[in-house]
Amino acid sequence: MRNRFGNLLWARINTGILPYLLILAHIGLGSALVYSAPRSNLAFLVLISSLFSLYILEADRRFKLIAGAVLALLIIPVIGVRNIFYLEVIFQISVFAALALGLNIVVGFAGLLDLGYVAFYAVGAYLWAFFGSQQYFVLPFAPGTQPSDLPFLLPGDAFYLFLFLAIIVAAITGILLGSPVLRLRGDYLAIVTLGFGEVIRVLANNLDKPLNITNGPQGITPIQRPTMPDWAVDGFNTLFGPAIGHRVETADMYNVLFYVLALAVILIIILVTRHLDDSKIGRAWTAIREDETAAIAMGIPLVRMKLAAFAVGASFAGVMGVLLAASRTFISPESFSFMQSIGVLAMVILGGSGSIAGVILGAAVVTLLNLQVLQGVSLYLSELRQSDAVIPLINFAWKDLSNQLDPAKYQRLLFGLILILMMIFRPAGLIPARRRMRTLAAEPPEAE
């Protein structure tokens, strides 16, 4: 879509120190806005979008890394504890970014349309929900009838162990769910995975008898968090106290902790994805996506490679499931509906199937739309409704506006619109995937 003028402008922007100044200005502006107006959605959008300009502008790698680290480890925690909602939004973005990166391996790299991806997320979440709560001792009781003085099965710090266990358990689930269905192609695979996704949710809904494993539709609560050491709280306060302006309590520190954990998981996931993509395995996945018949004729074991894609994708979701269960301290089957799978798929397609930066951007855009923009508009509309304001010219009083018109309820419509518009205008996504260009020796001396 970029025309010649746009290209020139782009080249112009990326000369000399201009990109550096722009990045710093964007980060600075965002930080200042959020700092001075901690409740403003717009200010927050400016800050969070500075990550995008950090990615897209052409600057030195080291500069980008340092700027990104400052933003992620200094600015966001400080701003986040001043308004915990922001940390919550960023945490959700991270969770969905990890899910989108996992689904990206299956859909984007290997080209297997998986509509039940959220099942693996559920597996991770229920794994920690079961072992990290009193649920083990609730097994013989029907939901709601258990005594209130039950002990916890494991200490909260087992959470860290379960982050790793979830990788293995989710990967095994991926292989188990994958092996019967991966002989199918295209639409058939999509339908069957959709079914499996629902099976997992229905299982979670109904496994409250004969043994009460999941506590049924009521969900499991409380789920333990890892213990928060005092030194972490104190350290954070001494380090950031002056900038924050008030003492940060342990409850708020948990938000920081989960934010940092999510960030670490995302970074590892990005690294794993990139390294796998640029190896024999990633090439095999892409080859399967491009042409299965040719791929198998070149010696690529189809089923094993597809299972690998399922397992890797599932493991990302599993880790994030554990993180979600611990951060929410509550899990119910409702969190793992078909809509969630579609939502993650919308992120992948919006951002750019197969593109790491793309799907992260997709996750951020969709999450922000959901949590910030739509709700912001809803809030604004309801304020208007309560006011005496009238639209001029047509003489329409805002208070007559139907209550049905609540943008926050139009999440599904939004997903649908995103998918349709992207298919029409930018089928490859916001940041399309690109193959790695190799530095090939131009023309070596006449060998052979």
């Binding site: 198998i296 004729a297 023309e443």
Partner: protein
């Protein structure tokens, strides 16, 4: 010792027997052609040899072992590589990556090595890239390593498909109409390339081809199929003189030299 041998090979689809009790052998180091009218079962034979179809009856013996019932990727790993009649490249991948896919079975890197970028992994990738460059030169592709395969012109795509197949270091190379859609000069170059591949790499070549100049020029033996059956086999000279072959290609009357009458 024969490299490839089919024994009473049968493959049918519903009521149609596409390959009917075919027996033939390929000696190592030879260039052998399979010819026959459209629908004679040539491509089905290729697909059965490479495991895309499972033979209904009979056996395929390759390098002393049976291939019947093996998955295509196992057969590829045994040393049979192929090209396709309607080019099947990985269009969204670069030329180099297409060739690297061909090397898949020979790369020993484990997922862990790839994840941690261990020195062994880096070395193997670098060497693979160099071998891929060398293969590009062999088939006459220059300076297009980073192009997407889908963006190559038709002739270059055919060459790339051969390079990808060669990357698998096969003992036997199956080429399905490699000269289709090429002009005489390109065809000439292709023919030369096949000879080079056989002479320098010792790869046995089995090809399906309709262009009789290519077939007669390059083949050491020719196998003729019609309606799923092998109707003749021999040297180009023998085949040219074979009455059944002429009949299959030109119709019954042709043998008696009456073929011109039919157009009159």
């Amino acid at each position: 010792m024969t490299l490839l041998e089919t024994i009473d090979l049968v493959k049918s689809f519903g009521g149609l027997t596409a390959v009917n009790k075919v027996n033939f052998q390929v000696e190592p180091g030879r260039i052998v052609s399979i010819i026959g009218p459209n629908g004679a079962g040539k491509t089905t034979l290729f697909n059965t040899l490479t495991g895309i179809y499972r033979p209904d009856q009979g056996d395929i013996r390759f390098n002393g072992r049976s291939l019947a019932g093996l998955r295509p990727d196992r057969i590829a790993a045994r040393g049979i590589a192929r090209t396709f009649q309607n080019i099947r490249l990985f269009g969204g991948m670069t030329v180099i990556e297409n060739i690297l896919i061909g090397m898949h079975v020979h790369l020993s890197q484990s997922p862990l090595e790839a994840l941690l970028r261990l020195p062994g992994f880096r070395r193997e990738e670098r060497e693979a890239e160099q071998r891929a460059m060398a293969l590009m030169r062999t088939v006459g592709l220059v300076g297009v390593g980073n192009e997407l395969a889908a963006n190559l012109p038709y002739g270059a795509q055919r060459r790339l498909e051969i390079a990808r197949a060669l990357a698998a270091e096969p003992l036997l190379l199956l080429l399905d109409e490699p000269a289709a859609g090429m002009n005489p000069q390109e065809t000439e170059e292709m023919t030369r390339l096949f000879r080079t591949i056989r002479d320098e790499r010792g790869v046995t070549i089995l090809l399906i081809e309709h262009d009789m100049r290519v077939v007669m020029n390059i083949s050491e033996r020719i196998c003729v199929m019609d309606y799923g059956e092998k109707i003749a086999e021999g040297t180009p000279a023998e085949i040219r003189a074979d009455a059944r072959v002429i009949e299959a290609y030109l119709g019954r009357g042709a043998v008696a030299g009456q073929h011109e009458e039919r157009w009159r």
